[in-house]
Symmetry: C2
């Protein structure tokens, strides 16, 4: 079976070209189009400061129908006032002339530095050029995936297929995200620059698609943090072409689709944590049996965001006191006398007291691509996992000199 990718679902074409927005000669303009009106849903950042393309995208996706997505990297078109909005609309207009649709059927995205007007002449030429290179091969998918990257070191993609009745449905996605990562996206609001675009050839109603995307995002994109700095531009958008002829409407089929969507979103989100700025490993923080799921999430997030925990993980230091104390500062009920903390499978703290363990052995066990932190609160049934990465000197290098 050939490798599944973003353009495996029937009905989609894409391109990625270099338009001169990034300083490095790498694709920076992407176009993803559907050959028919696709059912669409999107979630956006909840930051009070949201970029012009987020404002435009929110309006355009409202009707639940889109023909495509136009995106640039290297400039976020955020904090750019009315001119920024005009520029985001102009991006849609040019993409629409390629797709032969209305501009409100295009969702625009931008990622990169905040506070600079888009270089429109370059960008306009780039979108037109992308229109000339559209295709549905793996190479086209890869170029589109590359065109949305900023400080990312790797392209991020995931895909799956499943049966709805006798028909095969494919669901795929690409995303970007490395810094300014602390997404808290919702249908209403704004959050970090992560961008994700998903395609499927299932036929599914927009209200259902919206609900499923929001639920999947909550346990995938919104469960990743690199620096907890919710961006002005975060966007996850899904397009459903319906070209497979498989109708997703019965509760059973909706559940099958939801499971596949969860799988793809979680794979993409994990790739963001693994490619976090300066990351050498993923830290998977699970808080289980908390009073509520919200409490588990708050504690897992507090642990994942602690620079002390992130540095300790980087240095393979089983300094578990930082983990327990981070859980205690989350502002939710937590009784350390009841809980148990496991670090890479070794119990290090239980019932309010340290457990004797071999620190060298645990330190050795932390030299791995994924460090598992597991806090059992023994207080209820709320469980959550948050993915982050370690904090290295490279993170400082990357971010101390991004702009000048």
């Amino acid at each position: 079976m050939p490798e599944l990718h973003l353009l495996s679902p029937a009905g989609f074409r894409a391109a990625g070209v270099y338009a001169g927005i990034k300083t490095k000669h790498q694709p920076d303009v992407g176009l993803l189009l559907c050959d028919r009106p696709a059912t669409a849903a999107a979630v956006f950042t909840t930051n009070k400061v949201f970029a012009a393309p987020v404002k435009v995208g929110r309006a355009h996706v409202k009707a639940g129908k889109l023909r495509g997505v136009v995106v640039n990297a290297g400039n976020a078109n955020a904090c750019t006032g009315k001119q920024g909005e005009r520029d985001a609309l102009r991006m849609c207009e040019i993409a629409a002339s390629v797709a032969k649709c209305k501009k409100k059927e295009i969702l625009p995205s931008s990622t990169g530095i905040i506070g600079h007007l888009l270089p429109m002449p370059k960008l306009e030429r780039g979108i037109v050029e992308a229109g000339q290179y559209l295709g549905d091969s793996l190479e086209h998918a890869n170029l589109f995936a590359a065109a949305i990257l900023t400080t990312d070191l790797k392209r991020k993609a995931a895909a799956t297929s499943f049966k709805i009745g006798k028909k095969t449905v494919t669901l795929a996605g690409v995303c970007k995200g490395s810094g300014m990562i602390g997404p808290r996206m919702s249908l209403a609001g704004p959050h970090a620059t992560m961008l994700a675009y998903l395609t499927t050839d299932a036929a599914i109603a927009a209200p259902v698609l919206r609900k499923l995307l929001e639920a999947s995002s909550d346990n995938s994109f919104n469960a990743v943090t690199v620096d907890d700095h919710t961006s002005t531009n975060d966007t996850a958008c899904i397009l459903a072409s319906g070209a497979s002829g498989a109708k997703v409407s019965s509760p059973k089929d909706v559940k099958t689709f939801a499971t596949a969507l969860d799988e793809v979103c979680r794979s993409l989100a994990y790739q963001i944590a693994a490619d976090g700025e300066g990351a050498t490993k993923v830290v998977a923080v699970t808080v289980r049996n908390a009073k509520t799921e919200a409490a588990a999430k708050a504690m897992a997030r507090a642990i994942a965001n602690s620079p002390l925990v992130k540095c300790a993980t980087h240095g393979n230091d089983p300094n578990w006191g930082r983990i327990v104390s981070a859980a205690g500062l989350a502002g939710v009920p937590f009784d350390p006398d009841k809980c148990q903390l496991t670090l890479q499978g070794t119990i290090v703290f239980r019932a309010g007291r340290p457990i004797t363990f071999d620190p060298n052995a645990v330190s050795e066990s932390m030299k791995t691509p994924e460090v598992k932190v597991d806090l059992d609160c023994r207080a209820g049934k709320g469980t959550a996992t948050i993915w982050t990465c370690d904090l290295s000197k490279d993170y400082v290098t990357i971010n101390a000199d991004y702009h000048t």
Copy 2:
């Protein structure tokens, strides 16, 4: 006039000795005693995970009378269960035998690594030894101030004197704090390890002292963040000997005292930011004219805690988009179209749009011991300042290898 210090207020003696708890041969046990029952107040961390000495200290200060403080550095006595509590009480017992008072008249503190039982034989000998070296000279004050340090590079002290009627009152303090700094102390609760001890020879009632300490802490210690990791051990304690004979009770005198207390606490807090782990400069974030003071605080804290903002400051990078977007993620009302952002005196963003400025000149202006970030929201009358420091590679070095 001789230099004022912790032991300038009449009635206090202190000592700092090396008991072998720290790995480096530096003072690690401190004793601060008052020659009579002092009026006392203290605020403690609001972390749900609080150390044994915090539990004991909270109980001991309740009556509003203390004879002194016993403190060790190098071991936090946190996450140590019932044995930890017994050890904290034992510290008080030995200090009380030196002071010839009850153990409940002593407040214990510990700072250092979490999750290890105190080395009691060493510590007990240290406290007894400290009792033999008590004195009220500047050197004694300096030894006590040194005995509470962990990753701090500098001792921290501040003092002032003022008139109450015709009598001169002295108020002084020392503190420690460099990492695990994000204090949110209150009379009720727990937050980062910062420790602060204040002395005064004013005569003042305990309920008044409590109220004043809480108010001063809110705008000083609780306005500092290095890593926003509220510690298990944060404590600020003030002892009033009354030895000056000056009674602070009229509203006017209380106000005079409060102003002096604010001054000393703010000086101490600032010194914590300046000595933050790996810090090369202070970042003073002021948010003014927000809808409420709470909103101003939330935004200032979000800006101060963003690793992206902290790294940019370290690299003298006027990347103001990170600042504005951090304000937007604080979860409080904020309209970027109304606000104005000033970086080291240069306006960089106004009314939702970038302002043209010379990035090299602003970058040059950031090469200074204190970078001023000023966000004017033009939405109300709430104003707050939060102090933090930049994020350097040294921060990672210090924290990736603290334990092992």
